[in-house]
């Protein structure tokens, strides 16, 4: 009796921590979400509903340009990072041999260097050695460096359990390496690639600490938001944050639905369900 009571207390304590953490994470987001739909945006309880803020946000041409630049930056960096990370993962698992440790260290090193240092180092390199002004391409490249390591980890969790004998089987039956890749490997690993693309896209789209130093005068959503934040928070910023949050939730929700319906597994391995 005593033991079950103790066990139950432990359970409630764990669950309480979980709930409190979610509250801590989501209260600010919900608060500004509500604020962006309300006239009384600093304290929207109860809210007086309005869509004016969103109207102003979407009507503002600066935000429109910034949005398209961010989109470009996100797609470019994510495509580059995913492609390179996929190649690197395949190389690591199939061809690296003895030197795998060395390559792996280089490949995940960007994870252990703060974003702002990547940004500043690239700024110095561009400014001093290449004598380049700030531009979108440098920002894409620098974001791809940072995204590369994240993409590598995501793709690696997917490929960890990949059965390479499938490739060997295809080749035994006469398929060329490229045909093997496109007809056997790719169809089995694409969820990992898509997951890596989505995550690196969202990261590059929202990045400030790297992009800020490399963009020059090119506005992106985070840099415009940063500029506005310096002059005090405006309701448009609440609306902007809410819009981006909604899109991110939709993206991850899509991943989750694909996973539930069993269409893709994004590195999640159901056979290890009973791990703890």
């Amino acid at each position: 009796m005593h033991a079950t009571l103790k066990k139950r207390l432990g359970k409630y304590a764990l669950l309480a921590t979980l709930v409190v953490s979610y509250l801590f994470l989501y209260l600010p987001i919900l608060h500004i979400g509500l604020g962006s739909f309300a006239k009384n945006h600093t304290f929207p309880y109860p809210p007086r509903w309005t869509l004016d803020t969103f109207g102003r946000l979407f009507g503002n041409s600066l935000y429109q340009t910034a949005f398209f630049n961010s989109l470009l930056l996100g797609i470019g960096a994510a495509a580059l990072a995913t492609l390179l990370a996929a190649a690197a993962t395949l190389g690591l698992m199939r061809h690296a041999g003895q030197r795998a440790g060395l390559y792996l260290t280089l490949f995940i090193a960007p994870l252990f260097v703060a974003e702002v240092l990547v940004g500043i180092a690239s700024l110095i390199f561009n400014g001093l050695v290449l004598e380049l002004q700030g531009n979108l391409v440098s920002a894409i490249l620098a974001n791809a460096v940072h995204g590369f390591s994240y993409a590598l980890l995501i793709i690696a969790t997917q490929l960890y359990r990949y059965d390479w004998r499938l490739d060997d089987a295809a080749m035994v039956f006469g398929a060329s390496p490229s045909r093997t890749f496109f007809e056997v490997t790719l169809p089995l690993i694409w969820p990992g690639l898509l997951g890596a693309f989505i995550v690196t896209f969202i990261m590059a789209f929202n990045n400030l600490e790297i992009s800020f130093y490399l963009l020059g005068a090119t506005p992106t959503l985070p840099s415009v938001a940063w500029g506005a934040l310096r002059y005090g928070v405006k309701p448009e910023l609440y609306a902007l944050a809410t819009a981006v949050n909604l899109v991110v939730v939709l993206g991850l929700g899509l991943m989750f639905v694909l996973m539930l319906t069993g269409r893709a597994s994004f590195g999640h391995r159901p056979e290890r369900e009973r791990a703890v």
């Binding site: 608060h31 090193a109 500043i120 985070p222 928070v233 991110v248």
Partner: protein, 286 residues
Amino acid sequence: MRRRWAAALLLGVPTVFLLALFVVPLLSMVVLSFWRTENYHIVQEWNVGNYVTLATGGAYVTFLIRSLVMAGVVSLVSILIAWPVSYAIILYGGRYRLLLTLAFAVPFLTGEVLRVIALQGLLGPLGLINAVLMALGSAPLRFIMYTNVASAIGLVYLYLPIVVTVIYLSLLNFDARLIDAAKIFGASPLRAFVEVTWPLNLFGTLIGFALCFIPCLSATLAPRFLGGPNGTLYGMAMAQQFGESGTWALGAAMGVVLFLTSIVAVLLVGMRVNLRRTGFTGLGRG
């Protein structure tokens, strides 16, 4: 022959990419830190003046110590929160485990600026907490408005998601039958945790620590918008060298200091760990 081509392509291209866009820029930062800036112009003259300034200028030493304390406290607090959270998800999450973990990733993915905006909505003078307090008729909390406490809360908010994800992944790959085995042989739940669960997930915990400590050490946004007049951190001071003051060489030296400090901190923590005994399962090559 063809195999060797594939290897060269698959490993070579990413390696060249990282060398050109990651290693070489970092090296050029090191080179610049030994030059100096004069009136917004860079003078290519080898000297250690920047480092002398950083070591003797009292403010910079204060900023560095404050950053170290801040990053250490924030990482420890994050780990203390993340452990019960990931454990609860693993134990009681059932088929919604993945959704629960993804829910932690959502704020992490929405970008630092937007989350700092959200935090100002929570902690600021007109934020949720103080507005509720004032609506209830009590005085606003001074210690969460533009102070180091506000910065710390902000940094925990920013980096808790990544710590949770890392510890969750570590626990997910941990074989819980080992706990059952320990209990069958008479260990109490506490002892099973201290002697089995904790040491076998130590590697994941340390990765989580590093991935929180490093960005916190170089934080620029949270202290700027949440910290007060006494809240300047090293990363924020560094960013200013590239903005308002235009002293790039000094900023580069600060970058080198930050880089070395984070490497040393991670090595100090990492050296105490015996990889084979901490649940490190190798590089996953089969």
